[in-house]
């Protein structure tokens, strides 16, 4: 997956993401596609979650999946989730859940659903996503409505690391964040470096061109767009805008 948050010179925040999945689950050598990604495309839907007759939040979901991976809550925040690979990954929490009945931990996508339903603002969402004990490691990407309200929360089951747009000194505040399934303090592996092209394309365009269109173009740059990409979505918290598009990556295209 790739998630991007960008801020224009006026402080407006834009959030976009590619949802990539299906790696190692069946390569179709004839059509050059991942079988699972192919089957997920027609299951991709936009959901308007209604409460008391009004839209509480919007999400891009796979039909039949009750958690939330990509969503926007109007006038509050935008959200996306990127998978974090780890050797002691989710199966440890799962084993504790099954063998020891340890229910004092949250399933990742169920926690995010709770956050979308209950969090009243960016800070509340950030706190809940940072501090709740989880079954599995994950990256949460959160954008708000005020300038510099953008962060990547790197989670293991108990701890977190936060990279925000305003993490650095006033002189060197960031205008974008890019998350590509690797910890931001480490260099991504050469065989899966989507961070470098995304970062260079954003820098090449410059902050003055920050927009949903720019993010879409960056998310369409190979290998940021790759054979695993199921959909691209764009979000803006102030307007509550959320749109999702089914993606394919014509050859030549990197498998991940």
């Amino acid at each position: 997956c790739t998630s991007i948050i960008a801020q224009d010179p006026e402080g407006h925040l834009y959030h976009g993401r590619n949802l990539d999945t299906g790696l190692f689950l069946g390569w179709d050598a004839k059509n050059h596609t991942w079988k699972v990604a192919e089957k997920l495309r027609p299951l991709t839907v936009q959901l308007d979650w209604k409460k008391n007759g009004t839209t509480l939040f919007r999400s891009i979901n796979f039909a039949g999946y009750v958690g939330v991976l990509t969503a926007v809550k109007k006038d509050k925040f935008t959200f996306s989730l990127d998978k974090r690979f780890a050797l002691n990954g989710g199966y440890m929490g799962l084993l504790e859940w099954i063998l020891f009945n340890d229910y004092k931990q949250s399933w990742v996508a169920f926690l995010t659903r709770e956050v979308m339903e209950e969090a009243a603002n960016y800070d509340e969402a950030q706190a809940k996503l940072s501090k709740t004990r989880l079954l599995a490691p994950v990256y949460f990407i959160l954008g708000g409505i005020k300038p510099y309200q953008g962060c990547v929360i790197t989670r293991d089951r108990d701890n977190f690391n936060m990279l925000s747009l305003d993490s650095k000194s006033i002189d060197s505040k960031l205008w974008f964040l890019v998350q590509t399934n690797y910890d931001h303090w480490k260099t991504p592996p050469f065989f899966d470096d989507r961070r470098t092209p995304a970062t260079k394309c954003l820098n090449q365009a410059g902050q003055k061109n920050a927009s949903l269109g720019l993010i879409y173009n960056v998310l369409s740059t190979k290998p940021v767009l790759n054979k695993e990409t199921v959909y691209t979505s764009l979000m803006e918290a102030t307007s509550g805008q959320l749109q999702g598009w089914i993606r394919s990556c014509p050859d030549p295209c990197w498998p991940w």
């Binding site: 089957k39 409460k51 929490g93 099954i98 229910y103 092209p197 173009n217 999702g244 598009w245």
Partner: protein, 117 residues
């Protein structure tokens, strides 16, 4: 042509994308009982969901092997019933309206945790 990490060129004309690629919109009414919330979506997408989950089940089986696969499958009922409200109830609704076994709906919904490795 080299692709991937060794060669790339910033895309500048992909936006705006074609309207035909926009994903369809559905509503989930949180005021309905959890069992009923997913009925309209499942009536439309249920058959495609069954195809996907059947395939995923086979693929997982081939990747993790018989022993781990059977362990996971035999524990899914316990996992399902221990999930917090309203997730178990919603998954029962999805199973009912899609015609898929609850165990497979559960597998689909805990896929992130089970296969992060």
């Amino acid at each position: 042509v080299l692709v991937g990490p060794f060669y790339w060129k910033c895309e500048k004309t992909a936006y705006p994308p074609a309207e035909s690629d926009l994903v369809p919109t559905f509503e989930v009414d949180l005021d309905l009982p959890p069992l009923q919330r997913w009925a309209p979506l499942m009536r439309v997408k249920g058959p495609k969901l069954i195809t996907l989950v059947d395939d995923v089940k086979e693929l997982i089986h081939s990747v993790v092997g018989e022993k781990i696969f059977n362990t996971i499958m035999s524990n899914l009922p316990k996992v399902a019933t221990s999930l917090p409200y309203p997730f178990y109830e919603e998954m029962v609704g999805i199973a009912t309206f899609s015609g898929m076994p609850l165990s497979l709906v559960t597998l689909y919904n805990i896929f992130y945790e089970a296969f992060t490795l």
